[in-house]
């Protein structure tokens, strides 16, 4: 085991009340019981149970896996906490795992810091901690350190989670947002917009019901296979907040190139299209939690698509457009109708249109 192990075993505490109170954040026995009963119970005893203030790693074993560390952090404040296709727990694990993986890193360890609003049901916390554990297992990472805070009613919205992740990058992998060149292919690994649409539906504000599920998934396996098959891939980014449109703008800006995509080659689920039609939203700006945008040199495009399609999370991989010479930092889309329009950065949040 790479993490420095410990010997003494201690008996884990138990929570006997139904909801979290400020006492659970007080640093005393109630807090220890909560951490034991909810988090250590779910994440596994071995590493966390001694409750040291830090996780410890042997550098030697890390060094065998690559030549650089990747280090990232992300906070999760999603509402509602549980939604079709996932919950804040699976999201917090997949989000950080994917942020490591898109840099070419093998994700290894996560931290988990939670801010809990008093009054949250212990059972809900358990459910979310177990979901984190399951997602971590699926992603091949371990949650090795954490923190728990409880705040007064109204000071946060039920539960906020911050995960920080460490991964190791293999020698020779050099991905960069500035590396896109005219002629490169723009690829995605499947249907876009599912997560954003699922969350908007789950909030219930729109009084629309739909079978759309979040695409929340850890993408480390897909990306590892892609990079093994096509080491020449220039850049990968997960298209989370702001969607595919935002990632394309970031690439065009950083690489000082133009990008042209085809509306009819952009894969979008029929239900998501319909959802966007009704509300006047653009699916290109909807968040994804299991989708990446890949920039590959022209000669590697087919191999990259084949590598992604060979993985269960890349079955729907497709080429949506090309990097082109032209107005730098500009993303345009050839519409289904044969026209052309600019796909700009969103100013604020997308809001449903009145009519």
């Amino acid at each position: 085991m790479n993490v420095a192990s410990f010997t003494p075993r201690r008996r884990l505490g138990r929570v006997n009340v139904p909801t979290v109170t400020l006492a659970h954040g007080g640093g005393g026995k109630a807090m220890k019981d909560l951490i034991d009963d909810v988090f250590i119970e779910a994440f596994g005893h071995a590493i966390l149970a001694p409750l040291e203030d830090q996780a410890r790693f042997y550098l030697g074993t890390l060094g065998v896996q690559g030549d650089r560390l990747a280090f990232t952090t992300d906070s999760f404040v999603v509402h509602p906490l549980v939604f079709p296709g996932g919950d804040i727990g699976s999201l917090a694990v997949c989000g950080t795992v994917n942020d490591l993986a898109v840099g070419g890193a093998t994700p290894l360890y996560l931290s988990c810091a939670v801010i809990i609003e008093e009054g949250v049901a212990i059972d809900l916390l358990r459910q979310i901690a177990r979901s984190m554990a399951a997602a971590a297992q699926r992603a091949g990472v371990r949650i090795v350190t954490g923190d728990t805070k409880v705040v007064q009613k109204g000071a946060c919205d039920k539960l906020f989670i911050t995960t920080t992740g460490i991964g190791v990058i293999r020698e020779g992998i050099e991905l960069g947002v500035h590396k896109a060149r005219p002629g490169d292919a723009v690829l995605v690994n499947g249907l876009v917009g599912d997560h954003g649409a699922a969350i908007l539906c789950a909030r219930g504000d729109m009084a629309l019901e739909s079978p759309i599920e979040s695409d929340c998934a850890p993408l480390h396996g897909l990306i590892a296979e892609l990079l093994t098959a096509v080491p020449g891939v220039r850049f990968i980014r997960d298209a989370t907040r702001g969607g595919v449109a935002t990632v394309l703008n970031e690439i065009a800006e950083a690489s000082q190139v133009a990008i042209e995509i085809d509306e009819d080659k952009t894969p979008i689920r029929e239900q998501v299209k319909a959802f966007c039609e009704i509300l006047g939203l653009d699916p290109l700006y909807l968040a994804n939690e299991g989708k990446i945008v890949v920039i590959a040199p022209p000669q590697d495009a087919e191999a990259a698509l084949a590598a992604m399609r060979a993985h269960p999370l890349g079955l729907g991989a497709t080429m949506v457009g090309r990097v082109v010479a032209g107005d730098v930092a500009r993303v345009t889309m050839r519409t289904v109708f044969g026209g052309q329009r600019i796909v700009d950065m969103l100013i604020g949040e997308q809001l449903p249109r009145i009519c």
Partner: protein
């Protein structure tokens, strides 16, 4: 998507564009200046940009983006009044999504929400009424905006509230009506417009008869158009055909949705609940007679203006704004002095930069590609 994809067919578009190009060559005015066609409705502006329609048309056709975006034309004073109502501790203010971004003189509803004011987004006024039922100790106010498209749903919600005896629900009515505004535009001396794409959703409620004066008095063709890109191309073709034939008629391209007589239950609800205001202020266009509606006295108890005695703030448009000239097609958005500098979608000065359906915001965001790139 069935019933939508058919109206976005690229091949049919090519055929129509060729027809349009052929027609343009036979129209005399096109030899002297561009043919200006105004789409009155913000929904059309949205489709035109979303599908890149302007760039597909021959350069002799210039689309002028009209005043039909209710979010854009809402004056700052009304937003200030709305924020004042929303700031009362007992009030839950409800509204449509994009109305939250409209700037007042100090703040938008979105900013007020960030300051702790209870503002909630709803998809229908009925959702606001449901909220009133659920929160009997609070006052739920619906910030009603829009043309005849959204007017009936507000009216029916008021009738429902009356029927159910709900007393903690009211409407801050900012509904406006498009016909007097088209007339005001037609009366302006610097007008060049050669024809109109009529608003499809408004017409679904009011029918086509109210536009007759445009053809008979002002001698301009109008085609009530649907919102899919083929609808728009076909309607442009129909307008050109009228120009070529020397006709000025009110035609209905959107007959699959728009009955010529309108929707009679909706019209009944409108006349039961609303009466015309003497005048209403429009951002960018100023005060226009009989262009807004208010609740009739019989429904005064649902009228937030009377329930909360608002200040009725009047705030003049910024002097540098040229929204009025853009709206009338006298200048293009990017020819405005403040376009993209003092006035951007993040900090809109003028009406047309406010909503994504406003002509300026649409240009800023989507770009008219060819037109804009050449000229900008």
């Amino acid at each position: 998507m069935r019933y939508l994809d058919e109206f976005r067919d690229r091949e049919k578009a090519r055929v129509l564009i060729r027809e349009i190009e052929g027609l343009v060559r036979t129209v005399d005015i096109a030899k002297k200046r561009p043919i200006q066609i105004m789409e009155v409705c913000g929904g059309h502006t949205h489709s035109i940009f979303r599908y890149g329609i302007q760039g597909m048309l021959p350069k002799e056709i210039e689309l002028v983006h009209g005043p039909g975006c209710p979010v854009c034309v809402l004056p700052m004073g009304r937003v200030d009044d709305c924020v004042a109502i929303a700031s009362r501790p007992e009030v839950i203010l409800t509204t449509f999504g994009d109305a939250m971004r409209v700037p007042g003189s100090k703040k938008s509803l979105l900013q007020a929400k960030a300051d702790g004011v209870d503002v909630r987004m709803v998809y229908s006024p009925m959702d606001a009424l449901a909220l009133a039922r659920k929160n009997p100790q609070r006052e739920v106010v619906f910030f009603a905006i829009g043309f005849e498209t959204t007017m009936p749903s507000t009216a029916l919600t008021i009738l429902q509230a009356e029927n159910d005896g709900i007393s903690n629900f009211s409407v801050f009515c900012n509904h406006i009506t498009i016909v007097p505004t088209i007339k005001a535009i037609l009366d302006s001396p610097d007008l060049h417009l050669d024809g109109f794409l009529g608003p499809g959703h408004v017409s679904m409620v009011i029918g086509t008869a109210p536009y007759q004066f445009i053809a008979s008095f002002y001698r301009r063709p109008m085609v009530v158009a649907g919102f899919e890109p083929l609808d728009i191309l076909q309607s442009i073709w129909m307008i050109l055909k009228q120009i070529k034939d020397g006709r000025a008629d009110i035609e209905n391209q959107y007959a699959r949705i728009v009955p010529d007589a309108g929707n009679s239950p909706a019209l009944k609800a409108l006349s039961r609940v609303y009466e015309l205001r003497e005048f209403f202020e429009w951002r960018g266009l100023g005060s226009i007679d009989h262009s807004g509606v208010k609740l009739r006295d019989a429904y005064a108890h649902f009228d937030a203006e009377r329930k909360f005695a608002i200040a009725n703030v009047k705030i003049a448009d910024p002097k540098s704004c040229q929204c009025g000239e853009v709206l009338k097609g006298v200048i293009k958005p990017w020819q405005c002095k403040v376009f993209g500098s003092a006035c951007t979608p993040e900090t809109p000065l003028g009406a047309l930069m406010v909503s994504s359906e406003g002509a300026c915001a649409a240009y800023y965001q989507y770009g008219g590609i060819k037109t804009h790139m050449v000229t900008a």
